[in-house]
């Protein structure tokens, strides 16, 4: 049986196979790697980190806050 890794982003949950890099995982679930930060087990990581079974992966959106560009 193939082990899976769960990824949480804005209250949504996704599953990917283990042993792929975070960057590949994001592409797999259709999330632009440039638009999020990746946290694995509570620590920020780079997108070349390989995801393992049991990892707690959370994504933080980098677009936030103010609405309009005003200056």
């Amino acid at each position: 049986m193939i082990a899976m890794v769960q990824i949480t982003f804005r209250n949504k949950k996704f599953e990917v196979k283990e042993n792929m890099t975070a960057r590949d995982a994001l592409k797999k679930i259709g999330i632009d790697p440039e638009s999020v930060l990746i946290s694995v087990n509570g620590k920020l990581v780079t997108d070349d980190v390989v995801l393992r079974e049991g990892d707690e992966v959370k994504l933080v959106a980098v677009i936030s806050g103010g609405s309009a560009i005003v200056c």
Binding site: D32, L37, L44, V60, V62, I63, S64, S67, A68, V70
Partner: protein
Amino acid sequence: MRHHKLALCGEHYSEWFVNSTQRAIEKYKMFKPDANILVAVSGGKDSLALWDVLARLGYKADGLYIGLGIQGEIDYSDQSLACIRNFAQQNVPNAQLHVVDIAETYGKTIPEISRASTRGHGKPCSACGLTKRYVMNRLAAERGYDVLATGHNLDDEAAVLMQNTLHWQTGYLARQAPVLEASDGLAKKVKPFCRFYERETATYAVVRNIEYVYDECPHAVGNLTNFYKTLLNQLEAESPGAKLSFYVEFLKARQAGFFQAPADKSNLHACEVCGQPTTAPGRCAFCRMWNITAASGGALISPDAIAVRGDDAFDDVETRVAETVDVSGL
């Protein structure tokens, strides 16, 4: 950071980020060490990170929050102010926070004035931008600040640049810069984060444990700027450094005179009601949109009527503390 071919731990990342900000301030001659700075804060990662960095660098920087009355399903404005107050208490306890509540000051929230006005064709972003520009400029000038600092990052700048390039808006291109000098009643504006990727400001905020509003403004969802950001991210994914190169090389071309300078500002007039600079004689766009006239609403825009709450507001919510920010890590 693929574009810099650099990977740093949290502590050294924070140090790199602060030092890089100082280098940008000096490179673009944004302000001097003794400048009196007003930081426009929205509750998002960029503006709070900027306030944090300026404080850590030892600058005298106060904050300005403009309460827009935008709530949506996430109580956006309330959540933003809560984040800002929490941040101010913990990170910049010796600074002052000015809060201008638009509905309290002018009688309507941004969504309400947007519905009542023809500006923006029902979308509040135009009314919001006009109002924020006006209030920021007035408050900066009337409270004696040398410079207004905003948290615009590289992704913001590159998206606007792409938009203006695709439409060959040469006037806008000529004006897009890290520094807009003060002139004719307009405050000096600077963007110390203009060379940081959005990911980098977000990383700094996370590393520094800054609580910010993760959600976008409800009205920004699907807007054109975000569309261009998405396109640029696709480019960046295939070609690391593309966004930085696009923006920095534009600045070099601009400095070399490739874009026509904006029209002579000597054509600016003072608004007949509020006195702020405007391109056409009579009332400025702000006074027209808010239907402010000398007879009907002059009092609303007198300097003292802007609902600024500084020290008192901190005392009210017990957010002012005596400790200073610990910068020993640097």
